[in-house]
Subunit: 137 residues, 6 copies
C-alpha cells in the first residue's frame, strides 16, 4: 500500500496526462510506472521532476549507463527499495551486463565499508587532496 | 583529531609497512594518505582492505573513472567527509573534468530527491521491473 | 513478519495493558497499533516511549500538524516504512490536506537534493550563519 | 576546504551572476552564501536549484517557518553540517524562538529513536493506516 | 522479488558450490540462506565475503553475541530489512535472550536520538575526548 | 560553531545545574561535556535525556563495554562526529583495548558492506529466520 493514490490516466489532470504522454513518447512504450502515477497527485511537481530527469539523465559528459549505475549507488545507500528496482531495471535496459552489475555491487559494498571505517576513525582530510593530486582512500 | 593514531612508517609494524610500500609502488608516489595510516593500527585489516581496494577498483567491466564516481556517490549519501575528499581527488587524478563533476552532482542530487519522494509515497514496485524491461523512475 | 511478537491484550503484562488503556483513552479509540504491541515485550520501554510521545507531540510552541510533518520528514530520511505510514495517517487525522502533503514532499525532496549537493561540495560554513542573520542555502 | 571553488562575483559567468543578483533582490541583502558560490561552477544547476528553492520555499499551504523546520529535520537526519547551520539561521531569521528550536529538536530526536525501534522490530504496517484514520506510532 | 536470481546448488558454479559446502560445514546445517544464493551470481565476491564473515565474526577479542548485536545495530541504522532479520535470528541462535534484545533496542533507540540531537546542535568535540578520559555523551 | 549556546554553570537554570551536579556525582568528575551544556538550553529535555542515558547505559543484561560499542556502531552509521568521539572515549574509559576497537571497526565495516550488498540485491527474507534457527547472513 502507498501513502498516495496511484492515478490512472482517467484520474490524472490534463497537465499530468501531458507528462504521461511525454514519458511514453520519450521512452517508446505505453507503460507509465508507479513513480509518475504517484507524483501525478501534484501535477506541477510531476512536470518539474520529469523535466529534471530528462535533463539530468539525458546526453551529457558521463556515459548513460554509468549515470544509471551512479543512480543505483545513491539509491542503495539511501535504502530506497522502489528506486533500486526501477533503476536496476533501467540499467539493464541500457545494456548493463551481469558482470557490470556484480562489479557495481562490489564497489558500492567496498565504499560503504570504507565510509564506515573512516567515520569510525574520524580522520582529518589530507592536505594533498586539496591540490587534486588524485590520491584515493 | 582522530579516534586512532595515524602511524608513521617508523611506528607501523613490518606487515603494515609492506602494505605502505605496495601502495607506493602501485600508485607511483611516496605519499601514503591518512586512511592507510589509521588502518595501520590493525595491520591485518590494513592488508585486507588494500587488497580489496586494488581488486575492486582495478581493471574490470566498468570504466575506472565511472568506478570513482560511483564511489563518490555512495560516500556522499553516507555523509563521509574524508571519503568525499579523497575520492573526488582520485577521480580528478583519473581525468574527471569539471563538467563531469557537475554532472555527477546533478545525478546524485536528483537521485537523493527521488529517493526521498519515493520513500514518502511508499510505492509498490512495478511488476514490469521484474522482467527487466528497462523502465526508470 | 516481525523480529518480535505483537502482543495481544491478553498476552501483555498488567503494566503494558495500562499503557494500552492510556493510549485508548488519550486517542479516543479502541485500536492499539502494532508499534505499541511490539514494544509491549519491554513494558518499561513501552511506558517510557508512550510518555515521551505524549509529552513531545502534545501541546507546545509548534503547531500539532507541523509536528507530524516534521516527524514524517525524519522518517522519510531514515527510510522507516512503518513510521512513514503511521505518521502520514496521523497527519491526515490532524487535517493535513492533499496540497499540504504534496508541499511536504516537495520540501523533503528539495532538502535531500541540496543535502547531497552540499555534502558533495564539502562547503565551509559561512560566518554569517553564526550571527543568525537568517540566510538559507 | 571544499571540493569545488567558491566563485566570487568576478569569477562567475554572467548567467551565474544573474542568479546572484536575484538572490540579493529576493532576500534584500548583498550577501550570497557559499552554497550558491559553489553551485556557480555549474550555472545551469545554480539557476535550476535557485528556482526550485524559490518555488518550494515560497508561499504555499504550509507556514514558512514550519517549512524551514521540516528542512532542518531532513538535514539533521542526513547529517548535512552546512545545511543544518544555514537552515537553522534561516529559521531564526523567520522568527523561530528558542522554545520552538528546542521543541523541534525533541521531535527530531524522538522520531529518530522510534524510527530505529521500528526498524529493529520490522513491524508490519497496520491495515488501519490505509484508510487514513489518523493513528500515530 | 530480488534484483538478482537466487541460485540453487544446481545453478551455482563449482566455485560457488564449494562456498555453499563450507557454509554448511561451518554452521552444521544444510540450509544456505538467500544472501549467499544471491551473491553466488559473482562467485569471487561470494568467496571473498564468506571469508570475511568467517574471519570477522569468528573468535576474537569481543564476545560472539556482542558481535551479533553490533551487527544488528549497524543494520538497523542502515535500514537493511533482510540484515536485521538474519542477524536477529543469528543472535538468538547464539543465545540472545528477550531481555538482551529489549536492551539492545533501547541502546540503539537512545543512540539514534542523541545522534540526531547532536547533529542538530552541531557541537564542537570536547578537548577532553582526545586524551581518552572516558566521558560519554 | 554550534547552532545553540553551550551554557556554563552560571548561565544554566537551577534545574539544569541540578542535572550537571548529578552528572558530576555519577561520573566522579567535575567535567561536564558539551552535549549536556548544549542540551541545557532546554532543561526539561536535559533532565529527560540524562535519566534515559543513566537508565539505558546502566547495569542490565548486556555488558557495559558491549553497550558502548553498540552505541559507537549506531553513531558511525549515522555519521555523528561528536558522538563517535564521545563514545569512543567512553568505551576506552570502560576498558576497550586497541584490539577490541580494531575488531569493532571490522564488524561495523563488514556490516555496512553487507547491508549495501543486500539492499542492492533486494533479497526476500528467508522463512527460516522466522523460527529463530539462528542463521546469519
Amino acid at each position: 500500500m502507498a501513502t498516495v493514490r496511484l492515478l490512472s490516466d482517467e484520474e490524472a489532470t490534463a497537465e499530468a496526462r501531458a507528462v504521461f504522454d511525454d514519458i511514453r513518447a520519450t521512452r517508446g512504450t505505453d507503460y507509465v510506472n508507479h513513480f509518475w502515477r504517484g507524483l501525478a497527485n501534484d501535477p506541477q511537481a510531476l512536470a518539474q521532476v520529469w523535466q529534471e530527469v530528462k535533463s539530468v539523465m539525458g546526453p551529457g559528459s558521463i556515459d548513460p549507463l554509468a549515470k544509471e549505475m551512479i543512480y543505483i549507488a545513491v539509491s542503495v545507500a539511501n535504502a530506497c527499495t522502489y528506486c533500486i528496482h526501477s533503476h536496476t531495471a533501467a540499467a539493464r535496459g541500457k545494456g548493463m551486463t551481469d558482470a557490470q552489475h556484480s562489479e557495481l555491487m562490489r564497489i558500492v559494498g567496498l565504499a560503504a565499508k570504507t565510509n564506515h571505517l573512516v567515520n569510525a576513525m574520524q580522520l582529518p582530510v589530507d592536505e594533498a587532496f586539496q591540490v587534486g593530486t588524485g590520491r584515493q582512500s
